[in-house]
Symmetry: D2
């Protein structure tokens, strides 16, 4: 019997990879995609398979025209129904003054933060709707709920993402499609994203300062538990939006 | 060995009773309190015990001075540490025009909606803080995030409740106290509250229209699963606020 | 011919007194009330009269039962119709830990922050409604939109105040009653409130650091201009909520 | 002596044209731009000149690369300093299901709703910053604060616009740049936008139902008064966000 598919858009060693692992351990076939680093992708897949669970994946640049559309069709045709899709592409590029935010950077933020999710929804939701069920879990960020210095591209992208999630729920929740907007309000212990943004030295320092038993960095394997919970909520009690942050961090409205 | 205590403030046959049951089934001793109806209380306790789990409870009017304070001290002294407290007192009295909202009704809303939670926190948080851990799960309502016609007392109470939750988190989350503000944005299939508010006839009609397999009424046993999940979140990934509603209902910002 | 009345609840040398002055300079009879300091009250009234405008006032403890009700009746009977009421009672008592927030302090916050506004509305809105018009301008605070450490009493009070304003608008805006919730998100150059809270020495230092041509303290006479503008908005374009802060300060969502 | 310039991006017979008129009547030189309809543009300019005030303008497609940038440079070089810019391009295209929201429509929403404002800010703010002062007034919509059925493109665009405004304020308010995000939460009596969207017949019906002395349509000449007020606020008391709606309409959170 085919396992239900959990498609991960943006599967690195942080939230994406851990969500893939979590779903696979509960009987899903996790399909992992990322833009680059086939070695990293294969390591994530092997890790899941080594636990006796099911995963596969693909390197794909989802910003290319037709790519998301093809990916969805391909999975639905050859692997099985996508029950849950996790849109986990970030658009955080660090702080840049307005002056240093190029037209290209501003547009790229929108492509990753907003247009990609629209394209996924545009392709996948009609298919889910025909089945009367489906989850789209959307990783989001503080910038979705408040702008800040240097966050011009990111905040514009994420603010759009949040309103798009609300529009999708308003149109499709009664058809059985559950879209959850998950505000990740803090720094995730994620070498592939935060690590790359900070550089190895700063990331090591950050881990020493906040990580380990201090639990000041958000552990992606723990975030994955909440993603999974949200995907399993009974349809009479769906969460549309929730926030997540470390106990030792301030909420965005306090910092 | 003593089980951790889950104290339920406001345990009827809806969210409160079901949360009690859920926690008990995961190794907690649930302590149920409600203002009246000893028969109902005992039925809930028996139900939990019949599943081989642990529960006890008490009829107590928490609006009386000293009552919450005494209750907490009593449990901590004689039963064991309260690991999770669920503040589940509602202040919904149905729609009343401003003219028909008496001074007493307005004050009662605040007593139940806001002051009671402050009193619980004032008594319990210092104890939890000394242990470096504890959960306070707060049932809230649409009225906490937007006012509406006829909701003067309720909205003022719940708006205060929400801001109090944020203040508590700002002061105590780094000390290990997790306060979650849970926006129940819809009608719960709860005979003791919604049922009483509507009267038996209307409630039966509502259940026929929205309940059963239609899943248009929020099932309290399913809500309980999310309460439990929130209480078990790793401290690096705490949720401060989330919403819950039926798939077939509109979100508060759309209706 | 009688001038329209602008009733100020909470008229010190900050927002209240300046709003009184502004309305009086535009043809209103400003009626100023405050709890104490008859000398201060008289100085404000004299200041307005010296500009050739109309003002009177009264020392009254509005927390006393029946006081607001009597005040409104008295003005309506003896002076003329209250066209605009400004609810300007604050509930900021500085930062106090939860432990140091007494039951009394928590209740007092609610009395000033929330119950008083309900009482004003309960008394005055039916009268305004019969005339098909009226403004209630409500001074509010950052604490109405986010809780914070030490702000337990204040945030609970102001969160309730905000939701009450929304409920009043939802019920009465179509009857011609305009309720505006004005989020004063910063420190006002107000000797009677901020000055008293900080003490004369700290207040002088603050003024040196942020005041004068630095414009880091919010000037109450400039705030008054926006209050007046809001009261004059055509009924096809009413503002329900707005924020105010100094250009040099961070918005609450950034700090 | 040169008059200060008020640049209007999107000047039809609704908010844009009326804001131009209002600023011109207070000593500004209003510069009106719109994508098409030179006749309409000239009529607006003539109307202002006939009152003895100063206006000029240009037909320009601001979605073209370099157009906004050139426009700003041109005005600054040849006319004088832009003291206030009004970004009034809408992105409302009516309700379209997700299925009927093409990639192009989604991108066009972002271009108008979000990218254009970024481009204006990117070009103009450095110039304003060098002068230590400037206003950017941004017309926004309900869709900036909540998504809805059929609003996928519009809500994603406006949600991004709002977060961009917050980011701009966070970076530049202390440099004297005032960005105001104005949530127009209702239907404006604007033949060039709402009228075109509805078609002449429906628009006439709407006007009969809600317009005239009923004041259920938002009058753009009254909206202009609030725009002007915001632009004149003293820098110690700036409004970053406010909402506007007709007294007879429900606020977005109630409908």
């Amino acid at each position: 019997m085919t396992k239900p598919i959990c498609l991960i858009i943006g599967a690195g060693a942080g939230i994406g990879g851990n969500v893939a692992k979590k779903f696979a351990s509960h009987g899903y076939h996790s399909f992992l995609t990322r833009r680059s680093n086939a070695t990293g992708l294969n390591a994530l897949i092997k890790g899941i398979e080594n636990e006796g669970n099911k995963a596969s994946g693909k390197i794909v640049n989802l910003m290319e025209e037709g790519s998301i559309e093809e990916l969805v069709t391909d999975i639905e045709t050859n692997l099985g129904p996508i029950e849950t899709a996790v849109y986990n592409l970030g658009a955080q590029i660090g702080n840049h003054t307005l002056e240093n935010t190029s037209h290209k950077a501003f547009e790229m933020g929108w492509q990753l933060g907003c247009f990609g999710l629209y394209r996924l929804a545009h392709t996948l939701i009609p298919i889910m709707k025909a089945r009367g069920a489906g989850n789209i879990l959307v990783t989001s960020a503080t910038a979705a709920v408040r702008g800040n210095k240097g966050q011009h591209s990111h905040a514009a992208a994420m603010g759009g993402r949040r309103m798009l999630c609300q529009s999708l729920n308003a149109e499709f929740s009664s058809a059985g499609i559950h879209v959850a907007h998950i505000v990740v309000d803090g720094v995730v212990d994620a070498p592939d994203t935060v690590g790359r943004l900070l550089g190895p030295e700063s990331f090591t320092k950050l881990r020493e300062k906040l990580g380990g038993s201090k639990d000041g960095l958000m552990l992606p394997e723990k975030i994955a538990e909440t993603y999974f919970h949200i995907s399993q909520q009974h349809r009479s009690v769906w969460t549309h939006e929730l926030d997540l942050r470390s106990f030792s961090d301030s909420a965005w409205w306090n910092s």
